[in-house]
Structures are given as C-alpha cells and as structure tokens.
C-alpha cells in the first residue's frame, strides 16, 4: 500500500492536482467556506476548453525541441466563425457547420506541416505566420459579427449534471483516448521516439514524417473542436475568442508534467494544470487582486514550474 502511495506521488502529474486542490481550498477558506462546489463546477467548465487544446499542444511539444503550435488561437477562431456562420442559428445545420469547421481546421494543420516540411521553416515561425493568414480568413468570413449558436449546441455546451458539465465528461473521455494512444499505439510511441531522438527514430524504422504530419493536423483539429464548443458555450463566436489560449495551451502542458524538451507526454497532468490555472485566477479574484497582479502571478508560476521540472535529472525518467 505504501509502495502504491509513493509510486503515485512520484508521478509527474500529481503535483498539478495537488496545487489545484490547494488553491481551491485557499479560495474557499477566504470566501468564508461558501461556494466551493460552484467554484469547482465552473472551473471544470472552463478547464474543459483548455484541456482540448492542451491535448493537441502536448502531442506537438512531445515530438521534440522546437515543436510548438502557435496557430491554436487563430484556428479556434476560424473554426468558431465558420461553424456559427454556416449553422446560422438553425438546429438542422449543426452537423454541416461542425463538418465544415473541422474540415477547415484540418487544412490549417496540413498548411502548418507543409510550411515546416517543404519550406523548412521552424515550427514556431511557421505556425505563428500561418495564424495571421488563418485569422485574416476568419475576419473576412465573420465580418466581426457575433452569430448566436443554435439552441441545441448551446444547450450541450452549457449543460451540467450535478454540477459536472457534459462537455467536461466528453473531454475526459477524449483525454483518456489520447492517453491510451500515446502509450499503446505505434503512432504514440513514434511521437515519443521522435521527441527523444529523431534520427534514432528514423533508423529504428519508424515513420517520422507521417507522424509529425498527423500530429500537427491533430493539434489543429482539436483547436477547431474547441472553437465550436467555445462558441456554443459563450453565445457565439468572436474574433478574440482564442486570445487566452495561446499561453494557456502551452502552460497546461508544461505545468502538467510533459517534458518541454520532448519525448515524454503527460495527459492527466493537463487536467490538473487546467483546473489549477482557472482556480488560481479565481482565487486571486476573490483576494481582490488587480488584472496586472494576476498576470504577474501566472507568469511567475509558469517560470517556477519550468525551473523545478527542468532541474530534474532526465535520466531518472
């Protein structure tokens, strides 16, 4: 039993859940012991969106140093705008809208990988520059108008059972599938192998190119999914709807115990980190901290986590 506990505590994702729990406790205590359940419920609702994009970002970061997807916010926006415009508040068009949004996201992923592979542009530049194109497309399609989501979509995105959002349950299942994929499929093993040593992965007979392609496409499509859900949740798409997710998608991956240097992904940690990030902001709000202080705190915490995680001896993985 003791062995199990120490093994559990040795997992890199446990820390993020402990931190989330601690912040929640502080917030509840400061609020006089009230509203703990509500805070948790809304934390779950908001964390869900961060987790979706975090999963994609995790896969990309795990493929090795230099790999990161900075086009996530733009892809979310494009996907949300396309979906809302096509659905045009009609319930009958929900599936058409989702299909078109996912198709567009797929193309963004293909374009990202194309820039990286064919033009040999570093991923950080490739995805950043493609996000300008993607966002411009979203602006020209959406014209800045906020179109409401059809009622069934809004209902699904906001529905809860005993305080637990439906979307959170669905995304928990999605996270489980991605966790399984990472550990127990050829694709997942290849992602981890490339992240450790791309040349060795190629020489071991793994399909490096196809795996990297699939990973950038996966990240873009998860961003697209997040865009549609977010539009349903917050009453329509907006051109700035992805803004908070650039830093958040990377932060939850890093805080969640995924190796920044690649080769080792961590799925449960993304949930812990996403809850932690939301609860931290909530706690600072309850404390009455100004937005400036909140941003400074968030930045400091991310730096601290990277410093601690980076000093770990990589040999003792």
């Amino acid at each position: 039993m003791k062995g199990l506990l120490s093994r559990l505590l040795g997992q890199p994702w446990v820390g993020s859940f402990l931190a989330a729990g601690l912040v929640w406790l502080l917030a509840v205590v400061f609020a006089g012991g009230h509203g703990g359940g509500e805070i948790l419920s809304s934390a779950l609702a908001f964390a869900t969106f961060t987790v979706i994009v975090g999963l994609g970002q995790m896969m990309v970061i795990t493929t090795g140093p230099g790999n990161v997807d900075l086009s996530i916010p733009a892809t979310m926006t494009l996907s949300g705008v396309i979906a809302m415009k096509l659905m045009d508040t009609e319930s009958a068009l929900i599936l058409v809208g989702i299909a078109a949004a996912m198709g567009a996201s797929f193309l963004v992923g293909v374009a990202n990988y194309g820039l990286i592979r064919l033009l040999r542009i570093p991923p950080i530049i490739a995805t950043l520059s493609s996000s300008f194109l993607v966002l411009s497309t979203a602006i020209s399609i959406g014209r800045g108008l906020r179109i409401k989501p059809p009622a069934p979509l809004a209902d699904f995105a906001t529905a809860r059972a005993f305080g637990v959002p439906f979307a959170a349950i669905a995304v928990a299942a999605l996270a489980a599938i991605i966790g399984l994929t990472l550990k127990h499929t050829i694709y997942g093993r290849t992602v981890a192998a490339i992240g450790q040593n791309e040349r060795a992965a190629w020489l071991a007979g793994l399909d490096v190119r196809r795996t990297r392609f699939a990973t950038y496409v996966l990240s873009a499509m998860l961003a697209g999914l997040c865009g549609v859900l977010q539009s349903g949740f917050s009453g329509g798409s907006a051109l700035n709807m992805g803004d908070d997710f650039l830093l958040a998608s990377i932060a939850v991956v890093v805080i969640g115990g995924t190796s920044v240097a690649g080769g080792r992904g961590n799925v449960p940690g993304i949930w812990g980190a996403a809850l932690f990030m939301y609860l931290l902001v909530t706690m600072l709000n309850i404390f009455g901290a100004s937005p400036g202080v909140r941003l400074v705190m968030t930045g400091l915490i991310i730096i601290a986590v990277i410093a601690v995680a980076g000093s770990e001896n990589p040999r003792r993985a």
Binding site: I186, R189, Q196, G205, L206, G263, R264, R315
Partner: protein, 482 residues
Amino acid sequence: MSTEAIRLDGVEKSFGAVRALAGVDLVVAVGECLGLVGHNGAGKSTLMHVLAGALLPDAGRLTVGGAEPKAQWSAAASQAAGIRCVFQELSLCPNLSVAENARITHASLRGFGWKGRARALICAKLDEIFPGHRIAPDDEIAHLPIGQRQMVEIARAFTVTSAPLRLVILDEPTSSLDAVAAGQLLSYIRKETARGTAIILISHILGEVLATSDRIVVMKDGKQVAARPAQAFDRSSLMAAMGSDLKEVEARGDRRQSPKADSAVVVRASPQREGGGGELVVREGEIVGLAGLAGHGQTRLLLQIFAGQADIDRPVAFVAGDRQNEGVFNLWSIAENVTVASLRSLIQRGFINVAAEAKLARAWRERIGIRTSDMGRNILTLSGGNQQKVLFARALASDARIILMDDPMRGVDIGTKLEVYAMIRAEAAAGRSFLWYTTELDELTHCDKVYVFWNGKISDSIEAADFSEQRVLRASFAESGT
C-alpha cells in the same frame, strides 16, 4: 627526478554496495606504455576516473612523480600534474570548432589572436599523429564523423602549452578509428614514450595492446590479477588471465558453411557517385563485410540502402554504432528500446499488447544476454556494451530479413563480441542477410564476402577464400583496381 610517473597504493572505491576498485596497486614508469585490459565492468574506467581526478578514492594513496600531490586531488589538480585523459565517451563540445575545443583545455591561449594559436596547436598535433587526416581546424565537431571526433580528442590530449605532459590515458582510443588511423596512433605512442611521456592504453583489441605496450596489467573484479612484461603474454595467455574461455575464442576460427551461390539476391546497390561506384550484391543468408578507411562511403551506402535507394526485396533494419546519437532512446526503459522496431507485430485490436511486449523483451534478454534484473529500468542504467546488445536485439527482434550494421562493436568487450558473432552466424544460417561495416580487420573474417571502399566507391570485392588483411589494406588505398 623520480622514475615513477604515477603510483597508486591500495586504492579502493565503492558505489553503494558495488565495489568497483578493491585495493589497486599500480605503478607507471616515466616513458612506459602500460597496457590495461579486462572485461567491461572490471574497474578500468573507474580507475582512470580516479587518476583524472573525476572521482576521489575511498581509501589508498596516490603519488605523482614520486611526491604526494600538494593540493586536494581534483580534475584541476590532475590536469596541473600533467595527466590527460581520452575517455571512451568523447568529451568534445559538439557546437564548437576543432580549434575552440583545443582552447578549452589550454587556458593559456588567451588575448589577441588566441584562435590562430589554437588552430596552429591542434593542426600541428593532428598532422604529427594522423598524417592525411582531412580535418580542418574550423570544422564544427557536430559535423565530423565519430572517427574524426576521436582523432581530435586524441590529438588534443597530446598538445602542450603551459602545463607539462606526464601521463596520457587512452581509453579505447581506436574503437572508432580505421586500421590506418589506429596504426598511426600506435606508432605515435611509441614515439611519445621515447620522449618520456607515460601512457596507459586501455583496449579490448588484444593485438594492439600486445604490440604496443611495454607491460600489461590485467584487471578483474576491481583488482589487478596479473602484471607482466608484454613479451611474457600472448593472445591466449592474456585471454586466460582475463578469465575468458579459450575454447570460445578458438571457435572463431571455424569457417561456417557459406550460403549457396544461387540463393536469392536480396540487395543490389551502387554507391551514388559520379562515374559509378561499383555494385554490391547481397544474397539470402550472407554476411557481407564493408571495409576500408573510415568515412570512405561505407556508412553512406548503408543509409542509402536503408532509405530504399537500392534494389531491396526484404524488410530492413539498422544497427547503429553511434549509440548516443543514432540508437538509444534515453527516456525509455530497456524493454521499450528493444521492442520499438517490432511494434506492428504486437498490435491487438488496434493497441500494443502490453503482456506480449513484455514477453518479447524478456525473451531477448535471455537470448542476447542483456545484464539486468528488470527490463523496465531505464536504458541508461546499462553499460555501453549492454546498450549495444539492446540495439542488436531491437534489429533481430523485428521482422527484418536484412540487417545493416554501422560499425556496431565500438567499446564492446571481447566476451560480448563473441556472443554477438555467434548470434549473427546463427541468424545468417537461418536465412537472414547481414551488411556489416566494421573498422576492425579481425571482424571481416566472419564475412562471406568483403567489399572495400575507397573515396566513395567500391575498390575491391573479396570472397572469403581469397581474404587477406594485406589485400584489404591495399584496396583501402585503391592500389588494386577492379
């Protein structure tokens, strides 16, 4: 002036429960070349780390030039006392140039024009030890093949500026050098000892230890078990002193049945080179050797075949010799490192079958003798030789019928080599084909056919019956035309 360069009395060192050095007495005289042999894990590397000041002994005494070192023993004290080391795991900075790496160990190269002096220093030494080395002082280390990196590391150890040169320790210095460069180094060692420098030569290649050393010390289980003048040893008495079974060694001599000349051709490849590079043909069940000086196109041809730019009609696997850069996945367990090339056969209902994966890993631990109690431990807990076995197991466990090997025996001890040779022969008898690039001439005797490379093309092809070292060396300089 003392005639002793360095002396150790009763030096002990333990790592936890493991006793790496169990009381070692060792004297190296001025101008002496001392050969040091023993299996992987006999304590040779630990002893050298103590001399280099990287490790402090738990007990025992160390004297340099007949006197106790004045300061606390450390890497800096060792360097100041004139002790230089060339370790098996090379210690050059890959992002710096050859000249900049030379500067790292010579703090006196400072001020205006230090780079020019560093260039001149390292170039002169490279020219002296390895004439015709083809290394430029501004080459970045990362872009040099492993053989040239080893040359730079060796040449740097022999350069002198402010600190004197008393003792140079060479740990497997020829493991990545081809026959010619290795020969150049060994004759340079004789020249350097004549000038009064003491040298400790650690090598698994017994022939070069026997030919180069004045005296040979055999280590086993952290102790010195034999020390005699080199003339008093021969190959078999040296093997016996190390505790190896002689019968195994003699089994090497058995020529195996070569596969029939009409068995199916599985690889047909031509080195990509202007004016044609010749043609290489591999048949089913054949062991084909690639020889010649390092960097003359052997590895390039293996990679070309691996990338599919040749006629191949069987699945291919690659065994890397440069373990760190091309073989091992550092974050993974031993088991994951073994099974990574066999995942397709482990898939059940879309997912990797965990039980089958563990079983496959365990089976290969037994078959190839990976020394660990738990295949779930991290790959870096293994010694270099055992990591290399993992890379062999990875290729042999896969469904590949053609195995490409890129000088895979670097730093592997004789016992392990014999096990792997036997396994290669057994696999070839079962119909697998091997393409084997090696820098050790001895290993070519295991091959059914040898292609010698020169300047990117095949300069000779030798059947087993006609094989001789002279012919390989001649073709290495393209003196024989085919």
